[in-house]
Amino acid sequence: MKNETITADSIILQLAIGLLFPFMLLFGFYIILNGHYTPGGGFQGGGILASLFIARYIIFPVEDTDSEMLHTIQRIFLSAILLVPLCLLFTGVLAQYPNMQKHYLTLMDILIGVQVGFGLGVAVLRFAFFQGSGQTWHL
């Protein structure tokens, strides 16, 4: 009875999300990589990447993702978001090479996108499997 209520009502959802999954991944990276001259950017693309984690939970609710590892990656990217502008902007490296501007913006978009995506994803996984209890949540 318990299992019926979990699986029977969501087979259409599972199939549809399974079909959309690779396209969502592609769209997320497209928005991140083109964020500097089209609408979108790191946060929006990161939101799509985070929704992939939720989609995966809906299709296949097994806790085999190492959320500690995701958390560590997210922290590394967060410190990179702080360190890269510090190194490039305030040391004046970027001012010497003006044609590096585009690459700098793309790099920042990728960093922000992965950070937002993994951060929201870890939050959702913790909500789904641990109900937010247990370990405390900190950056």
């Binding site: 929006q44 985070a50 929704s51 097994v62 499997f129 109900q131």
Partner: protein
């Protein structure tokens, strides 16, 4: 003409908002909210705010919809099974009414009502041993001589909370808790671990 299109979008948004409020099934309400979000994104695009439109589409209709669906997946009905007492196994309506009037059942129902969990109370046709082996019941009640014995799963988080509440209320509730180990396969155990 442009104003008319904008007004039409706004009006449709209002309609979908009302539909989401009035929807009987939570799943329908979620889909209505997603449509509302897409319409809002379209409106942002029409008034030349594409950056905001893409954010609204991603967050409003993508992330939040999936988050609600995941939350809905976790939200399920808790089933309380009532096993007939050993002396006379008459699982009829009068017995149920008698049970509902007891202090213990009132406490349990109040507990579920406050937390906004859905609760259903059913008769268990099987004997107690079989019912304990059955996975379908979250809490199994059996009336003893003087008080009601509640059998709960060892790992059930919410039932632990219920037991603590009953203990805090004092010994007059007439409810006694017994724990049992539920032997379930690995896959199921993960899925129901946090309940």
């Amino acid at each position: 003409m442009n104003d008319m299109i904008d007004s039409a979008i706004l009006l449709t948004m209002c309609i979908f908002a009302l539909l989401a409020i009035q929807a009987r099934l939570l799943r329908n309400a979620i889909i209505h909210l997603a449509v509302l979000s897409v319409l809002a994104a379209f409106l942002y695009m029409r008034i030349a705010a594409p950056e905001l439109a893409i954010a609204e589409a991603v967050i409003g209709s993508g992330l939040v919809t999936l988050l609600y669906l995941a939350a809905l997946k976790r939200n399920r009905v808790y089933t309380i099974g009532v096993v007939g007492d050993q002396n006379a196994r008459h699982l009829a309506d009068p017995y149920m009414h008698h049970l509902m009037r007891t202090h213990a059942l009132r406490e349990i129902r109040e507990f579920f009502l406050i937390r906004e969990y859905q609760l259903q109370i059913v008769f268990v046709p099987e004997a107690l041993d079989e019912a304990l082996r059955n996975d379908a019941y979250d809490l199994i009640l059996q009336e003893d001589d003087s008080d009601i014995v509640a059998y709960t799963d060892d790992e059930s988080y919410i039932m632990m909370e219920l037991e603590m509440l009953i203990q805090m209320r004092g010994a007059h509730s007439g409810l006694r808790f017994e724990r049992y180990q539920q032997a379930t396969p690995e896959m199921e155990r993960i899925d129901t671990a946090g309940i």
